[in-house]
Symmetry: C2
Subunit: 424 residues, 2 copies
């Protein structure tokens, strides 16, 4: 009996042309980040379940796939049933991001790494999200992180490296929306939100792109946070929508914030304009970034033709300390590989020489393998295919797969000189 033959829900198979396009893009990303002085590492796809559920992953923790212990005694199963706690039967989980594993990796290997460690991670992660167009349960993330560099040199290096990589991929013209968590906190304090209200307010403000200023204000009124603070935010929304935040610098940032925010933080953020072309930086006082672990600069990639972000990141100085018992500066940038690969032109880049050898059913294996071996030795990619009635369809398919020439093998074809390759 034939079984079901589709991949699991929300996960994908990649056919040869798709896989080739992905590997090509990954190769570009790997080479570019390596040129910028970053080193690739790899961690296992699974981590101990306590580590994944230690509060660092935000909402993603709830979406993680848990792996059953290998041997579960009946008594343990009964206890899980009695407590209605299926999770107690799992000891491992699939990673939902590359940041938690990196923090664990760094804590484990610190002594073997440079004092300022620049990491590349290119690897799949898993989230049990409701599948929808462009959102998958297994997807690749490409992260770079700099650990151990407290100065803004880290932000400057990862933003520069990321923009250069996007350029290499053919995605020119990207800009960086940028903010600082400390400015967000200062702003909420100026408006009069209680500190305990900050997390909720940030979650709501994070929806600004989707629900607009009115939506944000309405939701905050519903949540019954300090009414005067909501009024102040509302007034601020009315004011800033008339502002120009450019060119990036102290002046634009100061103008875009309510009075009373510490100018030292503004100066620090604005100093990035000394290092990075200010034209690619856009201050966004409402950029929040969902994860709770960010402590300073936060940023997202914007592309003029796209309504969604191509990636994001920020500074998270407190996080590594959770594993190491000692704070270490850290700053990272993650690009959304699945979105990027969808945007790239699906041009077929065949190898310089790729030859389809069409042969009759009675061609001998020795003859065919002999030809193939000679061609490969001469630097040609070769595919053998038995000639079918619909030869034209075979040629069309080979051209689509990146083959550039074809030739027929007859009983008298034995040496390369006997072949007459024609363009596909």
């Amino acid at each position: 009996m034939a079984q079901t033959i589709t991949p699991p829900r929300g996960m994908r198979d990649f056919l040869p042309t798709e896989k080739a396009a992905r590997e090509r893009a990954l190769g570009i990303i790997r080479r570019s980040y390596t040129a910028h002085g970053f080193d690739e590492i790899e961690t296992p796809v699974m981590e101990d379940i306590e580590r994944l559920h230690s509060g660092l992953g935000g909402d993603n923790e709830k979406l993680s796939f848990s792996v059953l212990k290998r041997a579960i005694p009946a008594s343990e199963l009964e206890r899980a049933a009695a407590n209605d706690d299926a999770q107690s039967l799992a000891d491992l989980g699939l990673r939902f991001d590359l940041t938690v594993p990196l923090a664990r990796f760094y804590a484990s290997h610190r002594g073997e790494l440079p004092s300022v460690f620049r990491a590349i991670q290119i690897a799949p992660v898993w989230r049990a999200e409701r599948p929808q167009k462009g959102r998958y349960r297994q997807f690749v993330q490409c992260d770079i992180d700099i650990i151990g560099e407290p100065s803004q040199l880290a932000e400057a290096e990862i933003i520069t490296a990321t923009l250069a990589t996007l350029d290499e991929l053919g995605l020119e013209g990207c800009t960086i929306r940028i903010n600082d968590r400390r400015l967000l906190t200062a702003m909420l304090n100026v408006f009069g939100f209680a500190e305990a209200e900050h997390p909720q307010v940030l979650i709501t403000v994070d929806k600004l792109d989707k629900i607009g200023a009115e939506g944000v204000v309405a939701e905050l009124r519903d949540r019954a946070v300090t009414p005067d603070a909501v009024d102040a935010l509302d007034a601020f929304f009315h004011r800033v929508t008339t502002l120009e935040f450019n060119p990036f610098g102290v002046r634009a940032i100061t103008k875009a914030l309510p009075h009373g925010v510490d100018p030292a933080i503004i100066d620090e953020l604005a100093a990035l304009a000394d290092v990075i072309d200010p034209a690619v930086l856009v201050f966004d006082p409402f950029l929040v970034r969902g994860m709770g672990y960010y402590t300073g600069t936060i940023f997202e990639i914007a592309h003029p033709d796209l309504s969604f972000s191509l990636g994001g990141g920020g500074r998270y100085d407190g996080m590594i300390g959770r594993f190491l018992g000692q704070d270490v500066a850290a700053c990272g940038f993650s690009i959304g590989f699945e979105r990027i690969v969808d945007l790239l032109q699906s041009e077929q880049v065949g190898l310089p020489d790729a030859l389809l050898l069409l042969h009759d059913p009675d061609a001998s294996p020795a003859q065919l393998l002999g030809l193939k071996t000679q061609l490969i030795a001469a630097g040609t990619r070769v595919r053998l295919e038995r000639r079918t009635k619909n030869t034209q369809a075979q040629l069309t398919r080979a051209a689509a797969a990146g083959f550039t020439t074809f030739a027929f093998v007859t009983p008298t074809t034995h040496a390369l000189a006997d072949l007459t390759p024609k363009p596909l």
Copy 2:
């Protein structure tokens, strides 16, 4: 509180130099198999649990990691406890090989693939084995398979491509131990084993390398299989150990088998010598290969300096039919990536130009990023590092990481012409 910081049991982190060596080897394998006309594909790491436990994976099924359903009602948990059936709480599992996913992939996408499909799969698999030296719970397999080619052209192509790839990796001098499942069956029939006894006898014969001929005979006597058949096998062991199986061909194979084996099967296997250099083929009448799905030729890679096999494969014509409901010819070869990467010389292949820039703490980010950007544009890999008291240790570490030159950045270094790179 600092948490545990090691990877899960039996799984590994890869540091930059290890990861670079792995990616280098993977790149060679990918390029070589692609030149031989194979196409890379990818499937999700998880498959539906029924599919993984459909009997195609042999003993590996018992070693698979199972993934908990995302929402488990209390009633389902109670039912699992009542039946002592924790597995009923899982709906997905991590793949334990790349063959079961390939069969599912081919069944799903057959209409989009060439009539003879040559697949490359390079991907991790997971098995909950007892961790020991050289055996891991997450490891990479590199498989090639030809689906839809019933003739020995398939065997010839995958053996040729695999040997060429091992050559490219620097592992010259490998040979192929080869046998045919049909010869094994014929041999057991000649000895007088009942058909129902074959699986057990094959499991025992498969241990020949470890426990020797006496061990095999003793174990079979313990198992109480047909005593006369065991006597016949015992006598055969005494005869064949005095034989030369080379050169590979009809004569050697016939001599190495008991009388009464169908010569047609021998002729078919021997015909490989017309296509592949007979010097790399070694007939092994006791090669079994563990998996139950093999139907014809089976083979393993032997290296003169190694006591273990570097990979293996064979023909498995019946398997795809389990998913497709229609038999399709298939033949595959899997190389053991982890063993191979351990064998490769761990030579540090730096990029042609890789420059370490050592700077003082007070160097400005703008100055440093400016230099870095100019160097990268000129094709140089660059790493910035703050100069520490132990500069010599920094230089040694950079050399080990593949950097070839270094230079100091002083307050007056602004242009490339101001740098004086020295060899590391």
